[in-house]
């Protein structure tokens, strides 16, 4: 009954998020949900392939700008815009993926960060003609209302993003349980011994790279629709570590990690910025602390405790299925 258990998990989580919406401000919740999608791609790369990317803002920007170009220059339908954004991310990662996934993991991390910086300059300085540089693209009023879920209404947007997050989450869960997930883990754990498989190894990684970065592009497109605005700030290198921090905060490679991490990170950012105003100091030391002391992250450390607690309360017959 393993399938049943994770379905319950997903329902519970998203029901909780839905309920939390009553108590917490909507912008905060929207931020959390989009951020958790953002982190899911990163989490997959780190946890399953062993690739740490400090360049996720680049892929976020690809998705956001692809979506923004559509909504600013061509159409008005936000759903199409999001689709265009994901496609943009997909195409870019297909183009650069073959080069990037050949790299050793340390080079991969650095090259991606360099990519983020370049995308930042591209949008800010080079392609000013179409990106309007630092002024950004504004298209909030161009987004058309759609029947059923009207994305121009924040509360509708929240429901939409929650559904989408659940979908993405289930997709990653499915990947994890599939043969492909096992292959990814194999390339991560035993890079050298799988190397003689050459091409095989390569395509496993390429697929992971494309999936993860398309997810990131999806988050970017959602930001674009939600804010009705994009600017180079999105690819800013100073935010390069955000998804990595969220992933690590939540617990690398765990399914709930990105969600827990996104809640914790967004929440802390709100509180800390108000309290001491020195966000960098806090997050920097937190990151070092996590790496040195609790590298399993919040969810990774919490899950075993929670599981134990749940098991104790479960009836013996349901325990037998695990």
């Amino acid at each position: 009954m393993n399938a049943l258990r994770w379905w319950w998990g997903i329902l519970l989580t998203f029901a909780l998020l839905g309920i939390a919406r009553v108590f917490l401000p909507l912008p905060f919740m929207n931020e959390v949900v989009i951020f958790s999608i953002y982190a899911m791609g990163c989490n997959f790369l780190i946890g399953r392939v062993g690739y740490i990317s400090f360049g996720q803002p680049a892929y976020l920007a690809f998705g956001a700008y692809a979506c923004a170009f559509y909504l600013f220059y061509f159409g008005t339908n936000p759903y199409v815009g999001i689709l265009v954004g994901v496609l943009g991310g997909l195409i870019v990662s297909l183009l650069i993926g073959p080069l990037f996934v050949r790299l050793r993991s340390d080079y991969f991390a650095m090259v991606n960060l360099a990519l983020a910086v370049i995308v930042f300059y591209l949008t800010q300085k080079v392609l000013v003609g179409i990106t309007h540089g630092d002024n950004g693209l504004w298209f909030l009023t161009r987004i058309s209302s759609t029947p059923l879920l009207d994305l121009t209404i924040p509360s509708h947007f929240f429901i939409f993003s929650l559904l989408l997050a659940a979908l993405v989450w289930a997709f990653y869960k499915y990947l994890d349980d599939s043969i492909y997930g096992a292959c990814c883990l194999a390339t991560k754990i035993n890079e050298n011994k799988l190397q003689f498989l050459g091409y095989h190894n390569f395509s496993i990684r390429l697929l992971a790279f494309v999936i993860a970065n398309s997810t990131t592009a999806l988050a970017g497109a959602m930001y674009a629709v939600y804010l009705g605005f994009v600017s180079p700030e999105m690819a800013s290198p100073s935010r390069a570590a955000d998804p990595v921090i969220v992933t690590i905060l939540g617990g690398v490679g765990t399914l709930f990690g990105p969600i827990v991490g996104a809640i914790a990170y967004t929440g802390m950012k709100d509180v800390i910025s108000k309290l001491i105003g020195n966000w960098e100091l806090f997050i920097g030391f937190l990151l070092v602390f996590i790496m040195l002391v609790a590298d399993k992250g919040i969810w990774g450390s919490l899950a075993p405790v929670l599981e134990k607690w749940l098991f104790r309360r479960k009836s013996p017959d349901s325990r037998g299925h695990d």
Partner: protein
């Protein structure tokens, strides 16, 4: 139109910026070569060097005292970081150290903000003298920066090839276990190397201060360039770092004369091309030795 004057001043500008890249990247490269860590916190020591230079220059009116003080503080900070943090993570994967050192960098930026605020501040150039090279007026300060980088390169070369400790470091870059097997305490070598790297990053910051604005996030702005330098040169190779720092310096400088956005784009394209041909950079070793 590119005139000879423009070209000469462009080359000098490129050499000076390449010198700064070199001083900064050498730390990253050495740390990777010996300890197999990716030490992003070098960019923190760079910022520290620049900010201390700013303050000491204000107080004493002499920038060179500031540079020295900046180096000293950077060395101290790197010593503390190595003993408290890196000591615990040497055995782990290099990307692990990358995340940790990014945390140190961000946290350190927070500390700098606390002491110096967020406003960009200028540092006056210690000498406004110009000399004429083939009829082109060139600022002496940039020549001094180039000379200092050259001296550092020679110094490091002599240290690694002519002193016994340097030879032990070169041996440990090849194989840590074998050096320990001879009875040499390698962790001392690690600490020493880390301090040298930190001090050189501090020097880079101090020397760079009069050429740019000093602010807390200046390290982040250098990050991509330093990355590109070490990636193109090959992680762990000192010669590669020098070659690629000089190349990138020229590309940034001459590129921006031809077409301004080239300054940022061209190094990136070069990096991609190099990686396409050799995924571990020009002089990088193809495999992990440890």
């Amino acid at each position: 139109m590119i005139t000879p004057q423009l070209l000469i001043s462009g080359v000098i500008f490129g050499l000076s910026i390449g010198s700064i890249y070199f001083l900064l990247a050498i730390g990253l490269s050495l740390c990777f070569g010996l300890m197999r860590i990716i030490s992003l916190d070098q960019l923190l020591y760079y910022s520290i060097g620049a900010n201390i230079t700013y303050s000491v220059n204000l107080l004493s009116g002499n920038m060179w005292w500031g540079v020295l003080a900046g180096m000293a503080v950077a060395a101290l900070a790197s010593f503390a970081v190595e003993r408290v943090i890196f000591l615990r993570i040497y055995a782990r994967d290099p990307t692990f150290s990358m995340i940790t050192s990014f945390g140190i960098l961000i946290g350190g930026i927070g500390i700098i903000k606390y002491f110096w605020g967020v406003v960009p501040r200028p540092v006056e150039v210690p000498t406004l003298l110009q000399v004429s090279i083939f009829g082109t007026e060139v600022p002496v300060y940039r020549l001094i920066v180039i000379a200092i980088a050259a001296v550092v390169y020679i110094g490091i070369w002599l240290f690694l090839h002519r002193t016994i400790v340097g030879k032990a470091i070169r041996a440990a870059i090849e194989d840590v276990e074998h050096v320990e097997g001879l009875g040499i305490n390698v962790s001392r070598l690690f600490t020493l190397t880390f301090i040298i790297a930190g001090a050189l990053s501090g020097l880079a910051g101090g020397l760079h201060a009069p050429l740019i604005m000093v602010d807390p996030t200046m390290g982040l702005e250098m990050l991509a360039f330093v990355f590109m330098v070490v990636i193109i040169g090959g992680l762990g190779s000192i010669k590669g770092t020098l070659v690629s720092a000089l190349v990138i310096g020229q590309v940034v400088s001459l590129g921006s004369i031809i077409y301004a956005p080239m300054a940022q784009m061209a190094p990136f394209v070069i990096m991609l091309l190099v990686l396409l041909i050799k995924p571990t950079g020009l002089y990088g070793s193809p495999v992990f030795k440890r």
